[in-house]
């Protein structure tokens, strides 16, 4: 065996940190990159099809704006409890973090309900033509992310009531908040493609 020379000791290091210092943050960043690439490509496919299907939309009414606007407003507002929860977790505050998690679970559930109404008012079917197909694809793609984050948030919420949080889990809450921010931000271009594209292109 190769001979060794001890030059330091690692046992004093902390066992967690927040944001980019944490390992999980990088894992989640990886998944956000993957999903972001998926969104970009779906957007690319959208513009490719716009070039082939004229007029856009082909003889249908664009998706009704009402629920789309409501969804956009609510998801933007959800950043407020999101940022608050993030802050509470960074300060290891037990009860406030749990309350924040409940609020975020509620926000997710409300958004899903609105999303259900949006699907009713798309005014096209996925099998009508490529326009309908891509509109549905974009909506489903984004909805999957809302569902995923809601599932994750619910799970952390339940865990937080049964087990006392350790540092790693507070850090996990922060990562979950980052992911939710991603879900909010990706909605803006996708919502534009779904609601504005058919009106402006």
């Amino acid at each position: 065996m190769i001979r060794q020379r001890i030059v330091g000791d690692l046992s004093h290091l902390p066992d967690h940190a927040f944001g980019p210092r944490s390992l999980m943050w990088w894992g989640i960043l990886g998944f956000m990159l993957i999903e972001g690439a998926g969104f970009l490509l779906a957007g690319g496919a959208y513009f490719f099809l716009v070039g082939h299907v004229q007029p856009w939309p082909p003889g249908q009414t664009p998706p009704t704006l009402t629920w789309g606007i409501v969804f956009t407003v609510v998801i933007l507002l959800s950043e407020i409890p999101n940022a608050w929860t993030n802050n509470q977790a960074r300060h290891y505050r037990d009860w406030p973090t749990r309350i924040g998690l409940i609020l975020m679970s509620l926000a997710g559930a409300i958004l899903l309900a609105i999303r259900f109404l949006e699907f009713q008012a798309l005014n096209t079917r996925w099998d009508a033509d490529p326009y309908g197909s891509i509109i549905w694809a974009l909506m489903i793609l984004h909805t999957v992310h809302v569902v995923t984050d809601l599932g994750d948030t619910l799970y952390i919420t339940i865990v937080s009531f049964i087990w006392p949080f350790d540092g790693g889990e507070y850090s996990g809450v922060v990562d979950n908040c980052v992911y939710w921010r991603f879900v909010i931000l990706t909605w803006l271009p996708i919502g534009a493609l779904v609601y504005l594209g058919p009106r402006l292109l």
Partner: protein, 636 residues
């Protein structure tokens, strides 16, 4: 313990015992199903990938048997369609990409001086998903519902109209399986390489293999979603009547081509760039000198990665793109020859300048350089549009990509196997058999594939199950088939060498090649905790720096932990918990399999199939410690 103090052997013994307790894991069947050690998973991964390689090789032999003579009746057209589709699909999705990632799963944590891979459970999950996807497609193939539309499954041929039945759906879902697995590994490699290196291993001291895997992992992350989007659109077109690719409704088959090649071209580099990293390690070790022009080598890898994304359109010259588009992609395609060429020069110069020992791994590297230069030449030829139009869809193309894939990836891979086999198993592969393995492969390969260039120029199209006599194709086809037989002989030598050496090979010791990177600083095979203490890096070639390896103590000695460092300077930052063995990744992979296969038959499987997946994920992340209630009772 104070810094700089020499160690007593007894302390090592006590530490070893303690580490064994902390990193203990179940044995027997439970051990098999719950393993999360990156070395165990990687060994399975590598073995599985090679099984798929040999299976696809058998299909290639069948094709060559059929094509050896004109108007042969060995294999009918429908079966032949499935043969080349399964061969290409298996080679690309189940062998080439997975085997490169598998080797990285083994080596990257060791080269980083880490105790385990950064997300051990995700790692296990990725392997299981890959395994189940591969088994699924091969069972489908055995039941005559294997893919039939080639490895890139162009629509409309692969659409609902011309490929009825379930064959193409199985193909599309197989892609989904393998992409999930590949992405799982890619995320880990990024996190591992950026966050979990040895203290002191700054970015500018990283071994080139780590650089190559970092670039590859990012490429996987950006390229693979394209094929997932593409195949998802395909499967919904086929199952629920979406119209993405249906020209009758304004959809466009070209959308498939764009999406597919946005993945498909980088795919070639995803296979090739890890091979470049392997070559750099091997060249350095056997020339006994550090690779020349390290910064330029790193830049070349990065350039390869970036350029690869600009090139997908060169697969579509025959589709009639706008003129300017053609010229742009032609020059971009030719440009990529520059970083590749630069690396080749650096290796040759390194060998020249060092004291080379021509052991089997280095032989394979030299074989790689020779073949790759030839394949690169035909590639630059194909990048020019007029020539591409002439030989499009002929055997010239088949020859070209086998030169690139086999020369560029499989030869380095074999070199890598000979090089790292002693680390993985503790025993060396036999040198004499290795030399035979190399020469039969090298000669057989050229005999099998060089004639295909000529066949292509003579006008023989690819993907034909037979041809008429009298076109001047007979001789070249026969020669090609004989070459394929020689490759098969070479593979037999390899298999026998592996099986015999596993039992009776020369015992390797820690560092049989006197190489410089950290994986050689531990025993062969490494213990489950990889390193007794965490190695510290002070230069680019850590094991050539002095006779004592600097190390740090106190990590992972009382519970399963790994070390997080700062990204650029690799300063120790966090003791990260490392997940213990568990069966949940396996269960999650089974649930995922049910979802994917279910969705081939019913679209709502995506919804109800998600429920078991969610349940298994809960099990996966379940915190195993006292609840609030228990703590309260205890304190009361």
């Amino acid at each position: 313990m104070t810094a700089g103090q020499d160690l007593e052997p007894l302390e090592d013994e006590a530490l070893r015992e303690r580490l064994e307790r902390v990193w203990a894991h179940p044995t027997g069947w439970r051990g098999v199903l719950t393993a999360v050690d990156h070395k165990v998973i990687a060994r399975r991964y590598i073995a599985t990938a090679f099984v798929f390689f040999f299976l696809a090789g058998v299909l290639a032999l069948l094709m060559r048997a059929q094509l050896a003579r004109p108007e042969s009746h060995l294999i009918g057209p429908d079966r032949y369609n499935q043969l080349f589709s399964m061969h290409g699909t298996t080679m690309m999705f189940l062998f080439a990409v997975p085997v490169m990632e598998a080797i990285a799963v083994y080596l990257v944590p060791l080269m980083c001086g880490a105790r385990n891979i950064c997300f051990p459970r995700l790692n296990a999950y990725g392997y299981w998903v890959y395994l189940f996807g591969g088994i699924m497609i091969w069972i489908a193939f055995a039941m005559n519902v294997g893919p039939e539309t080639g490895w890139f499954s162009y629509v409309p041929l692969a659409g609902p109209e011309f490929s009825p039945g379930k064959r193409t759906d199985f193909w599309a879902q197989m892609v989904t399986f393998t992409e999930v697995a590949a992405l799982a590994v890619a995320v880990q490699l990024v996190a591992q390489i950026l966050k979990q290196r040895a203290p002191g291993m700054t970015l500018s001291r990283m071994p080139l293999f780590l650089w190559s895997m970092l670039v590859t992992a990012f490429m996987v992350i950006f390229a693979m979603p394209a094929v997932m989007v593409a195949t998802t659109f395909l499967i919904t077109d086929r199952l629920v009547g979406t119209q993405f690719y249906n020209p009758a409704e304004g959809g466009d088959p070209l959308l498939w081509q764009h999406l597919f090649w946005f993945f498909g071209h980088p795919e070639v580099y995803i296979i090739f760039i890890p091979a470049l990293g392997m070559v750099s390690q091997i060249v350095a070790a056997f020339s006994r000198r550090t690779i020349l022009a390290y910064p330029a080598m790193v830049l070349a890898l990065l350039a390869n990665g970036f350029l690869a994304f600009g090139l997908w359109v060169h697969h579509m010259f025959a589709t009639g793109l706008p003129r300017l588009g053609d010229s742009f992609y032609t020059s971009a395609s030719m440009m990529i020859a520059i970083p590749s060429g630069l690396q080749i020069f650096a290796w040759i110069a390194t060998i020249w300048d060092g004291k080379p020992r021509f052991k089997t791994p280095l032989l394979f590297v030299i074989g790689f350089i020779v073949i790759f230069v030839l394949g690169g030449l035909t590639g630059v030829m194909l990048a020019s549009v007029p020539l591409d139009l002439q030989v499009h869809d002929t055997y010239f193309v088949v020859a070209h990509f086998h030169y690139v894939l086999i020369g560029g990836a499989v030869f380095p891979l074999f070199g890598a196997i000979y090089y790292w086999f002693p680390k993985i198993t503790g025993r060396l592969l036999d040198e004499r058999a290795g030399v035979w393995n190399f020469w039969t492969f090298f000669v057989g390969f050229n005999v099998a594939f060089f004639p295909m260039h000529i066949l292509g120029l003579l006008g023989m199209p690819r993907r034909v199950y037979t041809y008429k006599a009298g076109l001047g194709w007979e001789v070249w086809n026969l020669i090609s088939s004989l070459g394929a037989v020689l490759i098969a002989v070479s593979m037999l030598i390899f298999i026998i060498n592996v099986l015999v050496s596993l039992r009776r090979g020369k015992v390797a010791g820690d560092n049989p090649w006197e190489a410089s990177s950290l994986e050689w600083a531990t025993s062969s095979p490494p213990p489950i905790y990889n390193f007794l203490r965490i190695p510290v890096v002070t230069g680019r070639e850590p094991l050539w720096e002095g006779d004592k390896l600097p190390v740090m103590s106190g990590l992972g000695e009382t519970e399963r932990e790994s070390l997080c460092v700062s990204i650029v300077e690799a300063e120790p930052d966090i003791r990260q918990k490392s997940a213990p063995p568990t069966v949940w990744p396996l269960l999650a992979a089974i649930a995922t399999t049910v979802l994917f296969i279910g969705s081939i038959f019913h679209e709502w499987a995506v919804v109800w199939g998600a429920i078991p997946v969610a349940i298994t994920l809960c099990g996966w992340f379940w915190p195993g410690r006292p609840t609030r209630k228990a703590l309260k009772e205890r304190s009361a």
